[in-house]
């Protein structure tokens, strides 16, 4: 079994397409539809990497990143933000929130896997 990765995205299609790529590379994939569900998943499951969208209902991705960084037990999990947002100011916000990396969609599959390998503990 490969490392456990949590995908947080409100779009079912995005979750499906990222899951497909990650599973092909041997990772175990968990899903959450927003930041709140993401936090819940992290408290229940041993997750080694989080891949999250920014714009989501209930709790957005960057708020979730901040919460993760404040929570004992999960604060050091690497978080890659996977988003359509490419504006410098939003990327900067992500960095401040504590994200590990930023990937703008549409992403390149090989680069995504390479990046995952780099940031996995």
């Amino acid at each position: 079994m490969g490392a456990s990765i949590l995908i947080v995205d409100d779009s079912v299609s995005i979750r499906q397409s990222v899951r497909f790529i990650l599973e092909q590379s041997g990772y175990t994939v968990f899903e959450a539809a927003d930041g709140l569900e993401g936090l819940k998943r992290l408290s229940e499951q041993k997750i080694q990497l989080v891949i999250s969208d920014v714009n989501m209902p209930n709790m957005d991705g960057l708020t979730m990143v901040k919460k993760i960084r404040e929570t004992e037990g999960i604060k050091f999990v690497p978080i890659l933000v996977l988003t359509t947002e490419s504006q410098g100011s939003v990327v900067e916000e992500g960095k401040k929130a504590g994200a590990t990396g930023w990937i703008v969609k549409p992403f390149n599959n090989e680069k995504l896997i390479e990046t995952i390998k780099k940031v996995l503990p």
Binding site: S13, V104, N108
Partner: protein
């Protein structure tokens, strides 16, 4: 934005790869060949938008959402959805109209993949998975389509156009640009 005197409204034209949404009483227009345009709207506000996209040809093996090329379609849809949500729309209230996917160029004999068909299947597959109901559609055939979408009342005016060759050329350029863009720009940033 130019003023369309015939439709008595400002008109925003979008080309391949483009999208636009608005809460104003305007018209958003595009010219489609094998590409797809999805009009998405939340009538409660009202707010609506239109995109113009395709799945690039050279990667196309299957039309499932997990397939390599489908992510370009997913991305085009997500850009429009996010734009509408930022303007106050609610995902649960979104409804759609789907256009395009015509065969504006004769399919090459050796072509294994039917590009327009893939684009159509992707659009309906995506909307189904995301639980966005489709109110109406006009897809397939051999003629180009000129689309006028009114985000204020979700109305669409459509007319067929015979001049397909120019569009086919533009769409091929767009398809190549997508693949090029992915190779060059999808560079992850590590903080």
């Amino acid at each position: 934005m130019r003023f369309n005197a015939q439709l008595s409204r400002p008109e925003q034209y979008i080309g391949p790869g483009g999208f636009y949404s608005s809460r104003d009483d305007i018209v958003i227009s595009t010219l489609l060949g094998s590409c797809i345009s999805v009009a998405l709207y939340d009538r409660a506000l009202p707010v609506g938008g239109l995109n113009h996209f395709m799945l690039p040809e050279s990667r196309m093996e299957e039309s499932t959402l997990g397939a390599e090329s489908a992510k370009f379609g997913v991305n085009a849809m997500e850009l429009l959805i996010n734009d509408i949500l930022k303007k106050g729309g609610e995902k649960k209230r979104l409804r759609a109209k789907v256009f395009g996917g015509s065969t504006v160029i004769a399919l090459k004999a050796e072509a294994i993949i039917n590009v327009p068909k893939m684009n159509i299947e992707f659009a309906f597959g995506f909307l189904d998975v995301e639980r966005i109901p489709v109110d109406s559609y006009s897809v397939g055939g051999a003629l180009a389509r000129k689309i006028y979408f009114f985000p204020h009342d979700a109305r669409v005016l459509m007319r067929f156009s015979g001049s397909g060759s120019g569009i086919a050329h533009r769409e091929t350029i767009y398809s190549n640009r997508l693949l090029e863009q992915e190779r060059n720009e999808g560079r992850p940033i590590l903080f």
